[in-house]
C-alpha cells in the first residue's frame, strides 16, 4: 500500500511538479518513459514516488519515446492505469504509436510539455508538438498554469477511462512558462483526489485468461473505414463526459473548467483567440486596454483542443458587437494559415456577426509574448473594425526581428 504524501493546503509548485503529483494521486500503475526537456521532471517525479513508497506502480525507463508509448500501449492493454510525459522531438518520435494507442482505444494519459520542433533545435516552448498531435485521435486538453497542470490530469484519467469514451488523453502545458514557473497550487488530499479519479476498470484486458483477446488486429478496405468512423464518433461524443467531469470537479474544488474559456466577450468589439500560458497575458492586456482606451476586447481560448469545440467557438464568437478577431498560432504554419485560424474561421463563418479574422504567428521557439505586444495586436484589430476591412495582410508575424512579414492579401469589395 502506497504511503500518503503530506500536502499543505497551498503548495508552491511549477507545472511539471504539479503534473507529477496528479499522476501520483491517480496511483498510475505503469509509467513507461523517456526523459526530454522540459517535461523530464514529471517522470523524475514519478520515479521518486516509486523509490520512496508513495506509489505501488512500475516505472519502466525505456530507450526512446517511441518505446515509451509502445510500453504504455502494452501496459494499458494489460488492464491498468497508464501515463507518461514528453515534449517536442520526443513527441514527434512517439507519433506513430500515438495513432496506434487511440486506434486501439487505450485510455493512456500523456502529459505534454509543449516545446518547439527542430530544426533548428530549440528547447523552449511553442505549440508545434501540440499541433503535430491534432489528428492523432487523442483528446487534447490545455492547461494554462500550474494549478491547471495539476487539476487537468486528474480530470483526464476520468475522461479517458470513462466506458463511453475509452480514448487516450493529452494534457498540455507550455514549456518553461508553465512547466518551470512556480505558482500557488491548491492540491486535493490524496484520498480525495483518488476518490475523484476512481479505480481503473479494465476492458478487454490481456491478463484475464478466461477470455483471450486480440489487440491491434489488421483491417483493410472492408473494415478500416468503419473502425476509424467509430473512433471519430467516440471523440465527438466525448464532450458530454468532459463536461460532466469538469462539473464534478467544480463541485469538489470550486474550480471551473470549460471546453472553451471566454473572457469579456459579452460586449466585445474585437477578440483574440489563443492557447496556453499566453491567455493570461492576453486577458491582462484586454483589461488594461478597456480601462485605458475603452477598446472592448474579449479573449477566447479553446481549453479542449481536440475534439475541437466547433459549436462552442461559434457560440463564443456569435456576439453582435464583434467586428474583428485575431487567431494567434504558436506553431510554424508550414506554408498555410495557422491551424487555429483555419478552425476558428470555419466556426465563425456560420455566426451572424461573421467577424473579420486575421492570423498572427507568434512566440515560436519561446519568443516572449508580453502585454504590450498583445495590446498592439488588439489595437490593430480595432483599426480593422473601424475601417470596416482588414487593413493588413491576413497572416502576420508578431515579435519577429528583421523586415516585417505579411502573407495572404485581403480582398476589399
Amino acid at each position: 500500500m502506497a504511503k500518503e504524501f503530506e500536502l499543505n493546503e497551498v503548495e508552491v509548485w511549477d507545472g511539471n511538479y504539479a503534473a507529477s503529483q496528479a499522476l501520483r494521486q491517480a496511483q498510475v500503475d505503469v509509467v513507461a518513459a523517456y526523459p526530454i526537456t522540459p517535461s523530464t521532471p514529471i517522470v523524475e517525479g514519478y520515479g521518486s514516488y516509486v523509490a520512496n513508497g508513495y506509489i505501488d506502480g512500475e516505472f519502466v525507463m525505456v530507450e526512446s519515446e517511441h518505446g515509451a508509448m509502445s510500453g504504455c500501449v502494452g501496459a494499458a492493454a494489460a488492464g491498468g492505469r497508464v501515463a507518461t510525459a514528453t515534449s517536442s522531438q520526443g513527441f514527434a518520435l512517439m507519433v506513430e504509436v500515438l495513432y496506434q494507442a487511440s486506434g486501439m482505444r487505450l485510455p493512456i494519459v500523456l502529459t505534454v510539455v509543449n516545446r518547439a520542433l527542430a530544426s533548428p533545435l530549440n528547447v523552449r516552448g511553442d505549440h508545434s508538438d501540440m499541433y503535430l498531435g491534432r489528428d492523432s485521435g487523442w483528446i487534447q486538453i490545455d492547461a494554462f498554469d500550474s494549478q491547471e497542470a495539476y487539476d487537468l490530469p486528474l480530470c483526464a484519467f476520468r475522461i479517458g477511462e470513462h466506458l463511453d469514451v475509452r480514448l487516450p488523453v493529452m494534457v498540455h502545458q507550455d514549456g518553461f512558462t508553465t512547466s518551470h514557473k512556480a505558482q500557488n497550487v491548491y492540491p486535493l488530499k490524496d484520498d480525495v483526489a483518488y476518490k475523484f479519479v476512481g479505480d481503473y476498470v479494465p476492458v478487454d484486458e490481456m491478463l484475464d485468461f478466461t477470455r483471450p483477446v486480440t489487440h491491434g488486429a489488421q483491417t483493410e478496405e472492408d473494415w478500416h473505414f468503419e473502425h476509424k468512423a467509430k473512433q471519430h464518433k467516440a471523440l465527438m461524443d466525448a464532450p458530454k463526459v468532459i463536461d460532466e467531469v469538469f462539473a464534478e470537479f467544480k463541485k469538489l474544488t470550486g474550480r471551473e473548467y470549460k471546453r472553451v474559456e471566454t473572457y469579456m466577450m459579452e460586449d466585445a468589439e474585437v477578440a483574440l483567440v489563443l492557447l496556453g500560458s499566453s491567455v493570461e497575458t492576453a486577458v491582462l492586456a484586454a483589461k488594461q486596454l478597456r480601462e485605458e482606451e475603452g477598446i472592448k476586447v474579449g479573449i477566447v481560448s479553446p481549453r479542449c483542443f481536440r475534439p475541437f469545440p466547433y459549436d462552442l467557438i461559434r457560440e463564443a464568437l456569435d456576439v453582435p458587437t464583434l467586428k474583428a478577431v485575431c487567431c494567434m498560432d504558436k506553431s510554424a504554419p508550414g506554408g498555410a494559415m495557422g491551424a487555429l485560424f483555419n478552425e476558428v474561421s470555419a466556426a465563425a463563418y456560420s455566426t451572424n456577426a461573421r467577424p473579420m479574422i486575421t492570423n498572427y504567428i507568434y512566440g515560436l521557439g519561446g519568443r516572449d509574448f508580453a502585454v504590450d505586444e498583445a495590446k498592439r495586436i488588439m489595437k490593430e484589430q480595432k483599426a480593422h473594425a473601424d475601417a470596416g476591412h482588414i487593413t493588413t495582410n491576413i497572416q502576420q508575424f508578431s515579435g519577429l526581428r528583421g523586415p516585417k512579414l505579411g502573407f495572404y492579401e485581403t480582398r476589399r469589395s
Binding site: D29, V30, A32, D56, G57, E58, V60, M61, V62, E63, S64, H66, G67, S70, G71, C72, V73, G74, A75, A76, A77, A78, G79, G80, V82, E96, V97, Q100, M104, D199, Y200, P202, M206, L207, D208, F209, T210, P212, V213, T214, H215, G216, A217, Q218, T219, E220, W223, H227
Partner: protein
C-alpha cells in the same frame, strides 16, 4: 511452469493448441510450426505480442483471429516493448491485488521476423533485453523481408538474391555478412539465448521450455524456411531446414548467462553447403562459373564459425 510431454511428436503436436489452423500463412511456411511448438510446450497462460510481419498479417485480420490466447500487435518495431509493458503491468497489478486470478501462471512472449528483430526493431529489442523483464523474444528468421515481397534484411546471407540486393550481370546478390544476432543478444548478458530449428523439434521445444522457465529476458533465433522467397517446393520445408542444420549454415546452440555455450546438435555427416544452396532458387546464380568463389566464401565462413563455436564450448567461458 507446466511442462508438456515432448516425447512423441504426434502427441506433442495436438497438445494445447492455441494457434488455430485457420490462418493465412503460405503453405509450407515454417512460422506456424515454430509458433505452435512454443505454445504446445507449456500449459501456462501466454501473453503474446507480434511485430508487424508475415505472422501478424496472417493471424489477426479483423474480424478473425487465430490466437486463442492474449495477443497484441502495435507496430513493426515494438513487440518487445509491448510485451514488456504488459509484463510491467502484471507486476504492478499483482502487487496491488487487482488481477482477476493472481495465481494463474503466465509467460510473456514476443515474436518478430528478422526484419523487425535484426533491423527496424533492433533498438526496442535491445532496450527490453537490457531492462531485464521476464520475457522471451523469438525471432522467426527467414532471412528477408518476406511480408513485403522479399527485400534484403541484415539477416540475409552473402550471395542470396533479394529484390533489393539482386543477382544480375554485375552482382552476385547480397555482399554483406549476416548480422550475428545471437552473439549480440548474448552480449546483453541475457540468461538464456539460443539458435534453434523446427526440424530438430525436440531440441527446439526443450529450448523454448528453458527460455520460458528462465527468469529474465531470453532470446531465441529460429530458422524459418521461406518457401516463396527462398524458392523451394512447399512440401520441402523440413527437408531444406535439414540441409540448413546439417551443412551448419544454421548451427543449433545455446548460450547461458552470456558465456556458457553448448552445441545442441552435431550432424553425424556434415554436408557441403553447396547441397543446401542448390535446394533453393535464391542461390541458383551462385552455380554460374563466375560466382563459384561466393560458394567457397560461404563454406569458409561456415567452417570458421563452427570452429569458433566448438572452441567456445570447450573453453566453457
Amino acid at each position: 511452469m507446466a511442462i508438456t510431454s515432448i516425447k512423441n511428436l504426434k502427441e506433442f503436436s495436438t497438445n494445447n493448441d492455441r494457434l488455430e489452423g485457420a490462418h493465412l500463412l503460405c503453405p509450407g511456411c515454417a512460422h506456424s510450426m515454430i509458433v505452435r511448438e512454443l505454445m504446445n510446450c507449456t500449459d501456462d497462460n501466454l501473453v503474446i505480442s507480434s511485430n508487424t510481419g508475415c505472422l501478424e498479417v496472417s493471424t489477426a485480420v479483423y474480424p478473425y483471429t487465430s490466437w486463442d490466447t492474449s495477443w497484441i500487435h502495435i507496430g513493426f518495431e515494438n513487440a518487445a516493448t509491448a510485451v514488456t509493458g504488459a509484463e510491467a503491468m502484471y507486476k504492478a497489478r499483482k502487487r496491488k491485488g487487482t488481477l482477476k486470478d493472481p495465481d494463474a501462471p503466465v509467460k510473456f512472449v514476443a515474436f518478430g521476423g528478422d526484419g523487425s528483430t535484426y533491423d527496424i526493431g533492433f533498438q526496442w529489442l535491445s532496450g527490453a533485453m537490457e531492462r531485464g523483464h521476464d520475457f522471451t523474444y523469438i525471432c522467426l528468421d527467414n532471412e528477408n523481408y518476406a511480408n513485403t515481397g522479399g527485400q534484403r534484411s541484415s539477416a540475409t546471407p552473402i550471395g542470396a538474391t533479394t529484390s533489393t540486393a539482386q543477382a544480375g550481370t554485375h552482382s552476385y546478390g547480397k555482399k554483406e555478412k549476416k548480422k550475428d544476432i545471437v552473439a549480440i543478444m548474448a552480449a546483453h548478458g541475457a540468461p538464456y539465448v539460443a539458435q534453434l530449428a523446427p526440424n530438430k523439434w525436440k531440441s527446439m521445444a526443450k529450448g523454448f521450455q528453458k527460455a520460458l522457465e528462465t527468469e529474465g529476458p531470453c532470446f531465441i533465433n529460429t530458422v524459418s524456411a521461406c518457401t516463396t522467397e527462398w524458392r523451394f517446393d512447399p512440401k520441402d520445408t523440413i527437408h531444406v531446414t535439414d540441409l540448413a542444420t546439417d551443412s551448419l549454415m544454421f548451427p543449433i546452440y545455446e548460450i547461458i548467462d552470456g558465456h556458457e555455450l553448448n552445441i545442441l546438435y552435431r550432424p553425424k555427416n556434415v554436408i557441403p553447403v553447396e547441397d543446401y544452396l542448390a535446394a533453393q532458387g535464391r542461390y541458383r546464380h551462385l552455380f554460374k562459373p563466375e560466382n563459384k568463389h561466393v560458394i567457397e566464401e560461404i563454406q569458409k565462413n561456415i567452417d570458421a564459425y563452427w570452429e569458433m563455436l566448438q572452441r567456445r564450448e570447450e573453453a566453457r567461458i
